[in-house]
Symmetry: C2
Subunit: 254 residues, 2 copies
Amino acid sequence: MPGSKVVRSVDRALEIVELLARSERPQTLAELSHTLDIPKSTLHALLWTLTGRGWIESDEASGRFRIGLHALLVGRSYVESDSLIAMSGAVLDQLAAETGETVHIGRLDGTSIVYLDKRESVHPLRLFSAIGRHLPAFTTALGKSILAELPEDQLEAQLPQPLTRLTPHTITDLGALRADLALTRERGYAVDNEENSEGIKGFAVALRTSEPPHDALSCAIPVARIHDDTEETVVARLREAADRIRGRVSSRAF
Amino acid sequence: MPGSKVVRSVDRALEIVELLARSERPQTLAELSHTLDIPKSTLHALLWTLTGRGWIESDEASGRFRIGLHALLVGRSYVESDSLIAMSGAVLDQLAAETGETVHIGRLDGTSIVYLDKRESVHPLRLFSAIGRHLPAFTTALGKSILAELPEDQLEAQLPQPLTRLTPHTITDLGALRADLALTRERGYAVDNEENSEGIKGFAVALRTSEPPHDALSCAIPVARIHDDTEETVVARLREAADRIRGRVSSRAF
DNA sequence: CGAGAACGTTCCCAAATACGAACAAAGTTC
DNA sequence: GAACTTTGTTCGTATTTGGGAACGTTCTCG
């Protein structure tokens, strides 16, 4: 691992693309300049370069920038090149059919969980989620199932400071979180009690395809559809699915 | 539109990401240096910057680079922010169910067609395709359906020089291609007679959501499953689907 | 197991980029 | 509709980046 010599223009260009990818609405040059704290003149050249390659598109009329067509190719290829995600597609299909609820496969990235793939619930009430989106790991079942397996010294690095509240149920006390993770490790699965989104409970099991694990499988269910035996049933299905994925995947191919 | 002042390091960084996205296998620094004609020392800084942001990942052991997790977010957002693609999802589902074959929605990008979304055939024999991938427009039904609607002076710019052969059926003569496009315009749909992939025929109609159009809808079918009435039936379904999409979409929202 | 090739990394100067300020064009307010 | 605000664009120079060559390390092959 070499010294930390970052090329500023590249770093900023990526920042621009990421911001536009997150933004609901296309952004003007001035908005970007303000948000990213980059001088307008500098932004100008960067935006022009990104536009030239089709990574961002500018609307001639409004002068606003949005993500471009070439970004599409790049995103797909991550999914397609990763053997774990490729292998788990069929398992997700089956899991979604069995549970009838929204299922996700997610990966730990720093303090965040990134959704790698999903299958939507057949029911009208849906959880909002998007592939590629980052959520605080400690507020999700996916994240907690992975965090629970980390060695004590690594855990610290994967937790944000402070534990920011997302709902009234979010665990914001470090001690309480540690206790929850210990419980998770003991029973072998994680539970999200409306800690990330009000009205949504989640269950997740870590995929032990690496040590420590960085991927997990989850099922998210609106509280209205949770019954006495839901947890038991769903967790059993999740465990079966995780076992099937582990069977299919050797290890991450480089 | 400002003058063409491209920031070289950014341009190169994007080139690296695009190459890694296209590559089947992870690449070493030396391979990238050779392919992209960038000095190793320069690449070093660029790769480090890209790695720092999670756009590419390096395997510590082999020293090879592959596309990274952060690229995922970016690709999804293009699809989600484009109202045409969002609106056409349900129509693609229906079209795939009706035809039982692989259906695509594609967009013209320079001389290429980019697959925006797809539904796979239920049959075992499948066409290889990937969302985000570029194919020469003039060799595909999708591309030809759009090219046929372009004004004469614009057409020239959307054709590569020369018309490179992909299969024995590829139309490599400009005159022949113009004649085919004239026929396409007349009958209102395009036919790909194994011009892109041997053994696969395609039918496509342009989506007249803009003038000239840049999007199209297609159905790709292995020749073995083509019968006397296949063309007629499939084209009728495509036209209905195109009408439904046009009905749903106002125009591209900026 | 030893020689040779290939690879990743570091260094420093030539070449590029970044940015403040100034300008022009468009949009807003009264 | 005039003055004001805001936005996008251009320019020249201080600052950062790029690249040839050289270094140490790891593979490769006989």
